[in-house]
Amino acid sequence: MVFLKRQLPLLICFIIGTISAVQYYIPTHLSSDVAEGLSNWYIIVAMFASLLGFVSVGMVHSKKIQRKEPGWAYSALVFLGIALMVVLGFWSGGKETYDDGRISPFGWLYNATLVPLQSTMFAILGFYVASAAFRSFRAKSFDAGVLLVTAVIVLLGNVPFTNYIWATGLGIHDIAGVKFEMTDIVGWLIGTPNAAARRGVTFGVALGAIATSLKIIFGIERAYLGGGD
């Protein structure tokens, strides 16, 4: 029993992990077939995982409705959304557009609801970049000051009008042949110190990720199994 509960999962993890890592080095068709097969398996398993999620969402909200908890009517809207999509989806055979190019009811609902909802949430980000900048770009320390100054330079430099004032108004184009317009300054900041720091972080992240992966494959990191027997 302990084998089934603890060792077998570790063994599965080791075998699947090794196969998917080693496959990178084997060029044969067999190897790429295995890789493709595994990724298909993963997609199928993920489908059941989603099913697990959907059932639990259904349970959470149906409980709310049953018990008439405050705001239960909003939970009913979740079911309304699901029902609308599922009914129109099956009705349209899962296609957003029919083969002759006409848009299906499913595609219509997608365009009328999901598209505006997604892009509105994205647009709200526009407001949030402003308020977050106001609240957090304070020169409370030297480091914070560096962050603030860089951000302000980039913000200004990205506006064509600032560059117009800088280049045409002030007449600054270059220093001894090194281009020095606002856009060049922004380009340097993005392409040089910013890129260097990103690269440094990327190296660290990669090493951490590889170490973690190795620990998982070899069963050293097993937090995901939870406790118990």
Binding site: S31, Y42, A49, L51, S56, M121
Partner: protein
Amino acid sequence: MIRAVAIVLLATTAAAAQAPADFKVYDKPGDAGGAIIAEWKGLPDEGKPMAEGGVEYVVSLGLSKDGPWTEIERFPGTLHRKNEAPDLFGFSKSNDSEHFIELEGLVPPPGGPWLGTGRSLPTWVKLEVKSPAGAAVAGPLMAEAAPDWWSWNKSNVLLFILFFGGATFWLISKARRDPNIFVRRIPGLDAMEEAIGRATEMGRPILYLNGLNGMDSISTIASVSILGQVSKRVAAYDSQIMVPCYDAVVLSVCQEVMREGYTAAGRPDKYREQDAWFITQEQFSYVASVDGLMIREKPAACLYMGYYYAESLLLAETGGSTGAIQIAGTDSITQLPFFIACCDYTLIGEELYAASAYLSREPLQLGSLRSQDAGKIFIIATLLIGALTAAAGFPFVKHLMATF
């Protein structure tokens, strides 16, 4: 005058009639089968335009030594040089003057095994050299295409994994013997304890998010191990935690990990399965829900651990507006700036992976932190040597880092 031209023509004919040296045909190494390679040394005048005595190469295939021949490609002497394919020929200087051509799509023998596992029909390759003045032939030579079982040109990556993996396991076993390992402070993690304490005092919950990646992502795995440590402390302080999930597998793993945390803290009775739940699997509807949750429940602390996309700011800015202590940890390079701006503490990149080692202080985990440091020293050294040798005109370290 006319005689002079004739002499020049004769001279070029003599030069072009010479067949290329070292004509070879062989199975393409490190491939899935079905391709062979032909290579030969270039001729001295091949770089010139045709009219000035340059050459044209014509490669033909046949299934027997005597043809019939199918012309595959015809190209001037300036093309198909070996230096275009360092994955096959490396970086040798002589590649600049040698040619190759890859011949793909070879057919298996009738009734024989499929090319993915078997060899192709014996295939003959003939190379003709043409110039305005004359022609010469090399070959025909025969080769069979076969699948290979190892990509040798990816060995550099493999070597690094072996060394790094070896170092990791060695340092872990060392840490087991001597668990007294120095780890530098990570302020965000020290603040976590404080945040949990504050939540208890205020009688408000803690919100913990695992990011938007699935359980197959290293960031999520790190996040889940941190959740284990956090739930231990939450149980000890008798505080409350909310874990809305983006992925159902992550949800299940979170429930396991939290149960384990509560048990380890001696409070298995306090564990409630409904503290972690699934919302939905679409980025912005998930965020819309979590934002609503934050405004309504007003958590005392928001912990964002894992991988995030554009929604990072939507979460952190809303959390900030409710006055919660916010601690983020992500290895998402593009979203770090937003967490830095909005959160009180942020674990940057690798610090996310270090967090569970830091919190648990388990020797196993600490040992792997040391191996990561060793990896960094190795990278620093390689870069230094690479830059210095490159400046001195020896790019071999850079060539060692080539990926194919």
